[in-house]
């Protein structure tokens, strides 16, 4: 379960003004972003035309994390803050903990796609406060044995967002002093019921609900808007079955649909947690890694501009995402001489 330090929640709860929430919403933006490089690395590790179901599962989660980042920025802008996305520390160090002092023990890195990675890292990131106990028909017993223990003393990310929503409600509509033109609501990329302008308590709490439910589902259903929440979506890859309705189980659901596994032969053996410095100066991997990092830094700058008064810059950001996609896949197919590995993108902030 993705947990945050209790003192962060205390700080949110004791906030006396909108300004007191700025740092917490900024942290939320950084947390939402922090999940994207690990997910993207696993995506880039998929060989062309292989593991298509896994590709679409992870890709769909990445897109929603981008939505969550956008929503968090909209909320911060709505209450008069200014998101910062183009600073050196914005990208966390991988491997390492996620921002907000998330539960110790969860180390998030940049690795090739594997069942272990999805189970131990991705599902931990996305784990709801109380996961529904959905049976895996063939693996029911094993699933129960593997269920992670709750972590006493820690608050969940769900608690964090609930505390933000509660505080915004308490502070009231008066804190929505932000310039409405800073809201990013392009319906081209996200439907209006998911991405909308935040301008009062009602829209802010509704926006927070989108983040929480897409990530975690609801306490009674693994689904949100007809799609499994992230945790259950990832679980399909671990249990190698689509999540389907099944009236014979207690929850009404089971991992018993069509096959949805990961074929390791369709995954490049990426160098885990690579840094550009791991690739010799003058090597092709280094050139492409530098380009990737430059392009990723450009993306953060384009997003920073987008969320600081120029929503039209989202078009530039979209172009950069395509460029990164190309560079990421180019890297992953580059063998590293003298090793069994292929080059992995490194997601380092490198302005030039």
């Amino acid at each position: 379960m993705l947990s945050v330090q209790p003192k962060i929640l205390e700080s949110v709860r004791s906030a006396a003004s909108a300004e007191d929430l700025y740092e917490h919403l900024q942290a939320a933006i950084e947390l939402e972003h922090a999940t994207i490089p690990p997910y993207l690395t696993s995506l880039f590790s998929i060989k062309p035309g292989m593991n298509t179901a896994a590709h679409s599962v992870i890709g769909s989660v990445v897109v929603q994390e981008m939505l969550h980042l956008t929503i968090a920025c909209n909320i911060l802008n709505a209450i008069g803050g200014s998101p910062v996305l183009d600073k050196p520390g914005f990208i966390p160090v991988y491997p390492g903990p996620l921002p907000m002092g998330v539960r110790s023990g969860l180390v998030v890195g940049l690795e090739k796609l594997s069942r272990t990675l999805v189970y131990e890292v991705f599902m931990s990131i996305e784990e709801p406060e109380q996961p529904l106990d959905i049976p895996v028909k063939q693996l029911e017993a094993r699933l129960a044995a593997l269920a992670p223990e709750p972590s006493p003393g820690f608050a969940t990310i769900g608690d964090f967002y609930a505390a933000i929503a509660a505080k915004i409600t308490e502070l009231g509509n008066g804190i929505f002093t932000g310039d409405p033109s800073r809201q990013v609501v392009d319906p081209t990329w996200f439907p209006p019921d998911q991405l909308f302008a935040v301008h009062d308590v009602a829209t802010a709490t509704q926006a927070i609900q989108v983040i929480v439910e897409q990530g975690e589902g609801t306490p009674t259903s693994p689904e949100e808007e007809g799609e499994p929440a992230h945790y259950y979506r990832f679980a399909q890859l671990v249990y190698a079955r689509m999540l389907v309705r099944d009236p014979t189980t207690a929850t009404g659901w089971a991992y018993a649909g069509a096959g949805l596994g990961i074929d390791p032969a369709g995954v490049w053996n990426l160098l885990p947690n690579a840094k550009a410095a791991d690739y010799p100066v003058g090597s092709r991997a280094r050139y492409v890694a530098d380009q990737f990092n430059g392009s990723y830094t450009n993306l953060l700058r384009a997003l920073h501009t987008t969320f600081n008064g120029d929503p039209a810059s989202l078009k530039s950001a979209m172009g950069l995402m395509s460029e990164l996609h190309i560079l990421g896949h180019t890297m992953a197919a580059l063998p590293i001489d003298g090793t069994p590995y292929y080059a992995s993108p490194t997601f380092e902030y490198t302005p030039a």
Partner: protein, 644 residues
């Protein structure tokens, strides 16, 4: 004038040109005979998709640093402590995608231009000293024998000259150079010249898709050309090179400061990728007292007034100077240079092939054009949606001074056969016929002559009528226009120096296009750009296209100057673009598969890494050099010689 100005900076580093090469063979545009193997890397005797089928088209500065700056008083520094601009980076966009290097057509691959390229001077931390957008001028003065490779694109070299427009300046940088540059330049633009060589097109080389870049940036002065120096043009006597291996270059006499500036960035043959020049002896720049003295002839004090030695052999000279040599002129030199040709004279211990007696004072290595004539066209590259027009300026000068009232003769090359092909035999030879270019000539209309005005400029309207799809499987037609000013000799213009025009077929408006209308257009792009096909959207599949309609509508609606514009090749007519946009607007997000899904064969294509493993001379010992520009140029020159 331009970057050949006392106020300028030099930079050096690498560039990337990640060219997609499937479109290097025009026959690959034929959807009907397209084979999946044309998307694969070259292998053995099969050229397939040539040397970089997965290229993205990206054009990037890589590690380019300012090596020195020069000031208006003629002084300079290469010490960052003296001027913080020294050591800063010249780079591309900071919040958008890389620029793209674009050819106008597979049947004219000798006018590549960067589109959507931003240029920034930055220390990487603070705000940019300046930034702006490169006006997409194509390269000039391309030659294939510069080295260090034995031939092909690895031995090629060229210069990109243009302006950086829409500038933003940061006044906060305490740099004398930045202040002088900003104060000198006009029209919200700067002049830039990039010399590019040492390109690596071998996928097994770590430097794959990279080459060396030597750059110069200076002021742009209102009214001057953006794509060439309207100054003193040095021309070799033979096609491309002089007797001792130098090619075309430009100079400029700055009368205000009595300075001669020469751009030698592309002039000398080289012995390594970083541009170490081939030693052709000690070089002296000067003025020919005898204007009839030709290349490879000995000079004497009676026929040649020496100005200065050119230290081109000094270590790292190219990178340190940006290839620009500047020297003060005496009053006598300034006066003589006003109506006499300049010449570079070399002295070498051995001068093979000397045509006259070496008098001990050197031989003319290369000299200014006969009668100091210069004529260039701008813009030199035109894209016309038929029926439509464009206009081109012919700019003439003599010894750097506008040539008024000169008659410029304009002719079409007419039909040119066999351009833009490739492999001619063996497995996987494309079967489509190679269309003729330049016909029908009636579709390309312009006056046979024009006359320059008082400023030495003649502006000509060119008209493109509907060529009527003369090439069949590829849109429109490509035309070349030859231009000559009276009195000029053959080498005055560089052999690839034409006005090149792509006239696109007229398109019947259609408010309700179907996949039958747009499918062939998109399929062609899908075939030619495997990267797009495999990683973004399968353009051959209406289901995939419909599923990506939002992003496609975005990119098809951008301005061509935007780095995200689609198609990267910028060869889609407005009429066809309109068909695509209308189809996208009408289609639901998911359409029933009206056409077969992506072919299984395409899915099973070997991965890039698998291709890498198969590639290279070691793989099978029958490696063929598939060099795009070289192959294209050889073809063209053969046709040109054969036709005349």
């Amino acid at each position: 004038m331009s970057y050949l100005h006392p106020v300028r900076l030099a930079f050096a580093g690498l560039f990337q040109a990640d060219m997609s090469t499937v479109n290097n063979d025009v026959r690959h545009y034929d959807n009907a005979s397209f084979e999946p193997v044309f998307q694969d890397l070259q292998k053995g005797p099969s050229w397939n998709g040539w040397w970089n089928p997965n290229g993205s088209g990206a054009f990037r500065f890589v590690g380019c640093k300012v090596t020195a700056v020069w000031y208006g008083d003629g002084t300079s520094t290469s010490d960052p402590a003296e001027d913080p601009v020294v050591g800063m980076t010249i780079t591309g966009a900071d919040a958008r995608t890389a620029g793209k290097l674009v050819d106008i057509d597979p049947q004219w691959q000798l006018a590549s231009a960067p589109w959507g390229l931003k240029v920034r001077l930055t220390d990487g931390n603070g705000p940019d000293v300046f930034s702006g957008s490169y006006l997409p001028n194509a390269f000039r003065d391309l030659w294939f024998s510069r080295g260090p490779a034995k031939g092909g694109d690895g031995a090629a070299s060229s210069t990109f000259q243009s302006v950086i427009e829409g500038l933003s300046w940061n006044a906060g940088v305490d740099s004398r150079f930045a202040r002088e540059l900003q104060a000198t330049t006009t029209a919200d633009a700067l002049s830039i010249r990039m010399a590019t060589f040492g390109y690596v097109d071998d996928i097994t080389d770590p430097m794959f898709t990279l080459g060396t870049m030597i750059g110069c940036i200076g002021p742009y002065l209102e009214g001057e050309p953006t794509s060439f120096v309207r100054g003193r043009r040095f021309v070799p006597a033979g096609p491309f090179t002089s007797w001792n291996g130098m090619t075309y270059f430009s100079g400029h006499v700055d009368t205000a400061s009595s300075t001669l500036l020469l751009d030698l960035s592309n002039a000398f043959a080289i012995t390594d990728r970083m541009g170490t020049p081939n030693d052709i002896g000690d070089a002296t720049i000067g003025i020919l007292r005898d204007p009839m003295l030709t290349e490879n002839m000995p000079v004497s004090s009676a026929t040649f007034l020496a100005i200065a030695d050119v230290p081109y052999k000094d270590p790292n000279w190219l990178a340190r100077t940006g290839g620009v040599f500047a020297t003060p002129l005496t009053a006598e030199q300034l006066q003589l240079a006003a109506d006499h040709p300049l010449a570079l004279v070399t002295k070498a211990p051995v001068n093979p092939g000397v045509t006259g007696d070496d008098l001990g004072t050197g031989l003319v290595a290369i000299r200014e054009a006969a009668d100091g004539l210069l004529i260039e066209a701008e813009p030199a590259v035109h894209r016309i949606d038929a029926p439509g027009t464009s206009s081109v300026a012919f700019i003439a000068s003599r010894y750097g001074v506008p040539l008024a009232n000169a008659t410029v003769t304009l002719t079409q090359t007419g039909k040119v056969e066999g351009q833009g092909g490739g492999q001619t035999s063996g497995p996987n030879t494309p079967t489509a016929p190679i269309p003729d270019m330049g016909v029908p000539t009636e579709a390309f209309v312009f006056p046979p002559t024009t006359t320059t005005d008082d400023t030495g400029v003649a502006i000509v309207q060119i008209e493109g009528k509907d060529p009527g799809n003369p090439r069949g499987y590829i849109d429109g037609q490509v035309y070349l226009m030859d231009f000559r000013v009276e009195g000029m000799t053959n080498p005055t213009r560089q052999p690839f120096d034409f006005v090149v025009v792509h006239i696109r077929d007229a398109v019947e408006p259609n408010p309700n296009p179907t996949w039958d209308d747009v499918g062939p257009i998109l399929t062609q792009y899908g075939n030619l750009y495997p990267l797009m096909d495999s990683q973004i959207v399968n353009l051959r599949d209406p289901v995939s296209v419909a599923a990506n309609k939002d992003v496609l509508e975005l990119v098809f609606n951008l301005d061509p100057s935007d780095s995200n514009y689609m198609p990267v090749t910028r060869d889609l007519s407005a009429g066809k673009r309109d068909l695509i946009l209308r189809w996208l607007a009408n289609v639901p997000d998911t359409v029933e598969a009206a056409a077969p899904r992506r072919a299984a064969a395409a899915q099973a294509r070997p991965s890039p890494a698998a291709q890498l493993e198969q590639a290279g001379p070691a793989a099978d010992g029958i490696h063929v050099d598939v060099d795009s520009k070289q192959v294209f140029a050889d073809n063209f020159l053969r046709a040109l010689r054969g036709g005349r």
